[in-house]
């Protein structure tokens, strides 16, 4: 069901992309980047119940690392992006190591602390990072072998779509693997998993690093897209926004956050022009969902589909069972 919906949406977008006005294409591209960002957090929040208030750090790390790569080295675009992601993942490892020393609120606070630290470091090392001005004029170089297709709006859209779909498929495989089954157990009862003999800390570290990796990919895709990076990328409200997207979209579904995230970003663009109150409304919607519909939009939509008896074959999507309430 998930794959069908995603495939349909992707096909639709790819078909429409050449014909929509450029501004709309830009908006859709940014929405897809944000969807990827949201999906990356879902691995932590939805599948492992590791609440992060600092996921902006993943995004910011990817964005800034890619910016520096593209600016200082003569790399083809995809390589620049990959290099940025690799750098971010390297930084993510000690972060994951420290954060997973705790659980619950402490974990959340630590993730926030790292994002704040990152934010502060940007101002401290102004020479490298441009301080409050950020880094501008980031090139969008040609791909390997002089392939110029990604340098145009349409080409970049296809790149982002490809990365999103590829990441989704990878994550899907991951959560349906034995590793994913362990994550589900940790989500449901961490202590019991330890009592069964699982080294839950190692798994949590791994999922945090993977989540940071995909989040960094989103950030890395943002940099050549926007052409500049700024400290705002690390701001806690960015972490807040993406967390809201995961919960409202539907935690533990992968696709809920993607579609929810993309959709809300576009909604936000439209509504921000109409009203200044949008961020406020956003926060209120978030609280409403937490209180009344914790399974999120995707969960609501598929709720009636799930009252059908489960089919015996494995084609039924292995979505994370709803968080215990």
């Amino acid at each position: 069901m998930q794959r069908v919906v995603l495939a349909a949406v992707v096909v639709l977008l790819c078909a429409l992309a050449p014909v929509v006005p450029p501004f709309t294409l830009t908006l859709i591209t940014e929405a897809l980047i944000f969807g990827l960002f949201a999906m990356s957090l879902d691995l932590m929040v939805g599948y492992t119940r590791l609440y992060s208030f600092g996921h902006a750090a993943a995004y910011g790390l990817g964005a800034y690392a890619t910016a520096l790569m593209l600016l200082h080295f003569d790399l083809p675009l995809p390589l620049g992006i990959l290099a940025g992601v690799a750098l971010a993942v390297v930084v993510a490892v000690p972060i994951a190591w420290i954060c997973t020393k705790s659980t619950g609120v402490s974990f959340a606070m630590l993730t926030l602390a790292f994002a704040q630290l990152g934010y502060a470091m940007l101002f401290r090392f102004k020479d490298v990072t441009g301080g409050s001005d950020g880094i501008g004029g980031i090139p969008r170089p040609a791909g390997p072998f002089g392939l110029a297709v990604f340098q145009g709006k349409l080409g970049y859209f296809y790149l982002v779509t490809f990365c999103l779909v590829g990441s989704y498929l990878l994550c899907r495989v991951l959560v349906r693997s034995p590793f994913g089954a362990v994550l589900a157990g940790i989500r449901e009862n961490d202590a019991k998993m330890r009592a069964l003999g699982y080294n839950t800390r190692a798994y949590k570290m791994a999922v945090v690093v993977v989540a940071y990796g995909f989040g960094a990919l989103a950030g890395a895709l943002y940099t050549p897209f926007a052409g500049f990076v700024a400290p705002e990328l690390f701001f806690w409200l960015v972490s807040g926004r993406v967390l809201i997207m995961v919960v409202v979209g539907g935690a533990g579904t992968l696709i809920g956050p993607i579609i929810g995230g993309a959709f809300f970003l576009m909604l936000e663009h439209e509504l921000s022009e109409a009203t200044d109150l949008w961020p406020l409304i956003f926060g209120a919607i978030f609280i409403a969902f937490v209180m009344l519909a914790p399974e999120g939009i995707w969960g609501l939509l598929t709720r009636h589909a799930r009252t059908q008896p489960p089919r015996p074959d494995d084609d039924a999507d292995r979505e994370a069972p709803r968080a215990a309430s």
Partner: protein
């Protein structure tokens, strides 16, 4: 205290004697202030819990400890995966899943829970939940099975069923069992040896008949006003 392989050892004692503490010490949840714990010739004192469990220990808890949102089968499957070599694999694990599903079904079958395999563990009856926890412990293929008051809260009938199943399992002698129980009937039906704890000390240790007749044991249980 020493337990032989293949033995069924019951640990009994009044409340506060230290039975759960003993379990927590063996599994590494609590560090000992003095002394060592040796498992199959290997010193396990101070190792983290998960490492000790990986050596072949499985335990159940006094307060049922399950995954309430997962079905009974999924609960046991997770337990079966715990000692599987490929349990951490991030890519397709259909072979692993097939093996663990089979092990899960076998364990459920053994505990006569196959009928509720697809029911979420959180909504099972208390008795079924306790049996499920034992099924999970069995699915871990342990060398040492530690049961902490397995029949607590079970009806007479459920207790009977549990004892019957356990006796069946123990008959081929491949498993060592450490059992904490308050229900003396269960103890006498299952145990080869009984250790009696009182305020953290072993006050008797031997075959059931001897322990039954032990005067100190009788006073600890019956005269226990000075706890």
């Amino acid at each position: 205290m020493a337990i032989e392989p293949g033995e069924v050892r019951a640990v009994i004692g009044p409340n506060g004697a230290g039975k759960s503490t003993l379990f927590n010490l063996i599994t590494g949840v609590l560090p000992p202030t003095d002394g060592d714990i040796v498992f199959a010739g290997e010193r396990i004192t101070g190792l983290p819990v998960h490492r000790i469990i990986q050596k072949g220990v499985a335990r159940t808890f006094q307060l049922t400890h399950l995954f309430p949102a997962l079905t009974a089968r999924e609960n046991v499957r997770v337990a079966a995966q715990a000692r599987h070599a490929g349990r951490w694999r991030p890519l397709a694990g259909s072979a692993l899943f097939a093996a663990t599903a089979q092990a899960a079904d076998a364990a459920l079958d053994l505990m006569r829970l196959s009928g509720v395999a697809d029911v979420k563990a959180g909504v099972l009856s208390h008795g079924d939940q306790r049996l499920l926890e034992i099924a999970m412990a069995i699915a871990q293929r342990p060398r040492l099975l530690m049961l902490d008051e397995p029949t607590q809260g079970l009806s007479i009938e459920e207790t009977d069923r549990a004892v019957h199943i356990l006796r069946g399992m123990l008959s081929d002698g491949g498993l060592t069992v450490l059992l904490v129980e308050h229900d003396m009937e269960v103890v006498f039906r299952l145990a080869d040896q009984i250790t009696v704890l009182h305020r953290g000390k072993v006050i008797a240790d031997g075959p059931p008949a001897a322990v039954k007749a032990n005067a100190e044991v009788q006073s600890a249980y019956l005269g226990g006003l000075d706890q």
